[in-house]
């Protein structure tokens, strides 16, 4: 039997546990409940029970007050940091304020919350600077608000401010706005830049939307041999887009159109010198063997024995990097091994990244750079566990 036929027959063995009648009843009932809830008077706040959700509420409240009284660098970056880390599925117990402080602050009136944050908040300005650069385009303006950086990552916060007469609202079935940017690092002291560039990747997020304002961030990552210190970050803002289901199709298949706003014909080129003191990196040399097959995915996909070496672990208050080299005799080019990592301060877990979507090593042997969910004091990091093996850090 052909593999195609076996695939088809195999997938047909997957059958829904719920009969169609039950699905229909449940859907109609839930839709009716949704309608009832929509007609009720809206409640001012949802009750959040997790530490992260409480922190997110606090950050949102802080930003809204900041908007009335002037932009708050630390609060805005805190919100970005938290959102990015939560989207990545990371979690941490951070070192600068306690859960109790956050929960108490979240229950206080907004102004007290801001003060509570100010007292406990990590100072992003100690490794960054405010910019407040404005650029105008058809239908929107771009406001680059600020930047901070460590060796690995430059971390830019910007707003897209839609014009009042532009329909920026979300509608049922429409995707969220996406930002498309390009980034590179330039060393002005060099006549020639590295052939392959210094930026290894870029993260870009729309953090939230408040009315006609999209709060966004972009985070270009450096290859491990370079640092952002003294470099110039070049950003090319290309487009903002979202997808709209089903209009103007000519056949039966297309189901989404793209609504796209451009930063001019060729994009907007912006240069941001990283000419301020950046956050310092602490590095621990490890150079110890591990077996990547301790990770479930690696074992399933690549084999029972996957020898590798953890070369070093390094961290800044904002991010961390673990560098693992796989044994090339077992490494299959094009594949990527999963790296499960847990970072601790004594018994407290500062960060855990595991399962699919965790860090990867590929041909370059380089572990992925990750953000801490909240800034940490690197002096408090005591151990790291990589694929089940723990290393004490001194």
């Amino acid at each position: 039997m052909s593999i195609e036929k076996r695939l088809r027959e195999s997938f047909s063995e997957i059958t829904p546990p719920t009969d169609n009648g039950t699905i229909i009843r449940n859907v109609i009932e839930r839709a009716e409940n949704m309608k009832k809830n929509e007609t009720r008077k809206p409640r001012s706040n949802r009750v959040f029970v997790t530490v992260f959700a409480a922190a997110a509420v606090l950050a949102a409240a802080t930003v809204s007050v900041g908007a009335a009284t002037g932009w708050n660098f630390n609060s805005a970056f805190s919100q970005v940091n938290q959102t990015v880390a939560n989207n990545n599925g990371n979690h941490s117990v951070h070192a600068y304020s306690t859960d109790e402080v956050r929960q108490e602050a979240a229950q206080e009136p907004v102004r007290e919350s801001v003060e509570a944050v100010a007292e406990n908040q990590f100072d992003y300005l100690s490794g960054g600077k405010e910019l407040d650069l404005w650029y105008s385009f058809d239908d929107f303006k771009l406001n680059i608000k600020g930047v901070c950086a460590d060796d690995y990552m430059a971390y830019v916060l910007f707003d897209i401010v839609f014009d009042d007469d532009f329909d920026y609202s979300a509608k049922a079935g429409w995707t969220s706005w996406e930002i498309c940017t390009l980034a590179e690092a330039v060393d002005k002291s060099l006549d020639e830049q590295p052939e392959l560039g210094m930026v290894s990747g870029i993260g870009e997020e729309v953090i939230s939307q408040e009315g006609n304002v999209l709060h966004c961030s972009v985070r270009p990552h450096m290859f491990s041999e370079y640092t952002w210190a003294g470099k110039t970050l070049t950003l090319d803002f290309m487009s903002i887009r979202r997808f709209i289901p089903g209009k103007s199709e000519k056949d039966d298949v297309p189901y989404q159109d793209k609504e796209e706003l451009l930063f001019g014909g060729d994009g907007l080129h912006v240069e941001i010198p990283i000419d301020f003191p950046i956050f310092e990196t602490t590095t621990w040399e490890i150079d110890q063997p591990i077996d990547l097959a301790a990770d479930e995915y690696n074992r399933l996909y690549y084999g029972e024995e996957l020898p590798a070496t953890v070369k070093y672990f390094s961290a800044t208050p904002l991010s961390w990097r673990v560098y693992v080299e796989a044994d090339t005799s077992t490494f299959v080019k094009g594949d990527a091994y999963s790296i499960n990592v847990s970072i601790k301060s004594g018994d407290r877990t500062l960060e855990t990244v595991s399962g699919e979507g965790s860090g990867w090593i590929d041909e370059s042997g380089q572990g992925e750079i990750s953000l801490f969910a909240e800034p940490v004091d690197t002096a408090e990091i005591t151990s790291i566990t990589v694929c089940g093996q723990t290393f004490q850090l001194k």
Binding site: F11, A31, V253, Y255, Y301, G355
Partner: protein
């Protein structure tokens, strides 16, 4: 959309949506929830569809996106690989079944194989559903087939 139309579409596409969700998640209960979520989104949507193929692709996209969100959640990132190993169907009485092996592939490979081979969706359409470039889908399918072949050989399946 009225109840009659919802009924018709559930009867026509519930299996499709459930299988897509199951391929992503490998968990019957969560796939069942995602299926109902997708039909609820359809029922409450004011999208103007051009036909049943359009609705089918829309439903799969909604389901896959919700699965992605679930896979990114802390629960899945920390517990899924081991917890769900027991949920891979054993397919008793079907010696030709390779479903347990398919389910050992990564979610993105399983979904791509499902849409391509079972739903007969063209690469362009799969790329639109997954929000990927067609070349990325082609590469993904090639790697999925390659890894499936390696797993089948390793686990002693004949006649690959």
């Amino acid at each position: 959309m009225d109840e009659k139309e919802l009924t018709r579409l559930v009867e026509k596409f519930s299996g499709t949506v459930y299988r897509a969700a199951y391929c992503c998640l490998r968990n019957r209960a969560d796939a069942d929830d995602i299926t109902q979520d997708a039909f609820l989104a359809l029922y409450t949507s004011d999208t103007e569809f051009t036909g049943d193929e359009h609705i089918k692709a829309w439903l799969i996209r909604v389901a896959v996106n919700r699965c992605r969100n679930l896979l990114r959640s802390a629960r899945y990132r920390t517990t899924v690989p081991l917890d769900e190993a027991g949920e891979i169907p054993a397919a008793p009485g079907k010696p030709d079944s390779i479903l347990p092996v398919i389910m050992k592939l990564r979610p993105k490979y399983r979904v791509a194989l499902y849409m391509f081979y079972y739903e007969d969706m063209p690469v362009k359409q799969i790329s639109e559903v997954l929000g990927e470039k067609p070349t990325a889908v082609t590469t993904r399918l090639a790697r999925a087939r390659q890894q499936l072949k390696q797993l089948l050989i390793k686990e002693g399946y004949d006649e690959y």
